[in-house]
Symmetry: C2
Subunit: 137 residues, 2 copies
Amino acid sequence: MTPQRAAILRLLDGNKRHPSAEDIYARIKRKFSGMSFATVYNTLQSLLSAGKLAEVRIDSKRSRFDPGLKPHSHLMCVHCGAILDLPLSRPPLPAGKPAGFRVLRCNVEFYGVCRDCGRKPAAGAKRRTICATEKKK
Amino acid sequence: MTPQRAAILRLLDGNKRHPSAEDIYARIKRKFSGMSFATVYNTLQSLLSAGKLAEVRIDSKRSRFDPGLKPHSHLMCVHCGAILDLPLSRPPLPAGKPAGFRVLRCNVEFYGVCRDCGRKPAAGAKRRTICATEKKK
DNA sequence: GTCTTGACAATAATGATTACAATCTGATAT
DNA sequence: ATATCAGATTGTAATCATTATTGTCAAGAC
């Protein structure tokens, strides 16, 4: 346990924003200049291997990270990139699975448009950036 | 419609292998030398926009493509990378979705180990490469 | 003190995908 | 047949997230 790792852990603990590696790097570097991007990836990898963190790949551009360990699904706004947790009401069953295939885990992902992004801006108006995690590119 | 596009369409039609862009490129180039990788991506993009093809992102290394348009889920062997279609017995509902969030679509993905990869090779034996789509790297 | 181990930082390398500029093709109009 | 124009193709360069590498450093073991 090093100061860098502690900082990353502190940032992630209870974090519902599903930050990307870059988000984490940017945040930590403010307090902790001299932090390396590699350390972020190394730490995330350690946490993943230790099962203390989940990688969320709902965003096609980059991995996002989720300290929540209870099984749940995700809902992403395709406009602003915000990701929300959803309880997994009915864990789906792999119907029609071929014999001998051992299923290990399952992802359920929803895509849509959040309320703020769904409000059409008036014609000619500048697009407002309302959501917390603005989509990049 | 050009010869290149026709070739890509022909390859994809009814294809259950969920090929990657590189798979497609390699296959087509055999018959059609002088084919460019960019054309593969362009054509795939056109087909995606036209809704004639689905992008499957279950494989973290690269996108795979699926001509099947009926909603279904996927099951991937984490060992050999093979991807199978599964019927979606119970389309999951976004429980606890916040008001105003308009849900557009949903992905259900299963990960596991296929029968061939699950057979442990005898100690010291070379790993056999059985599955159709061998995992790269 | 010296050795070992692992973490850090900086940077380079990888690899899928996208962007771009130049050329080509094919249809249509003239 | 020729000119024109839009869109497709090609080859290559650029992008960008992620991984690998290398040298350095600090803490604990002996």
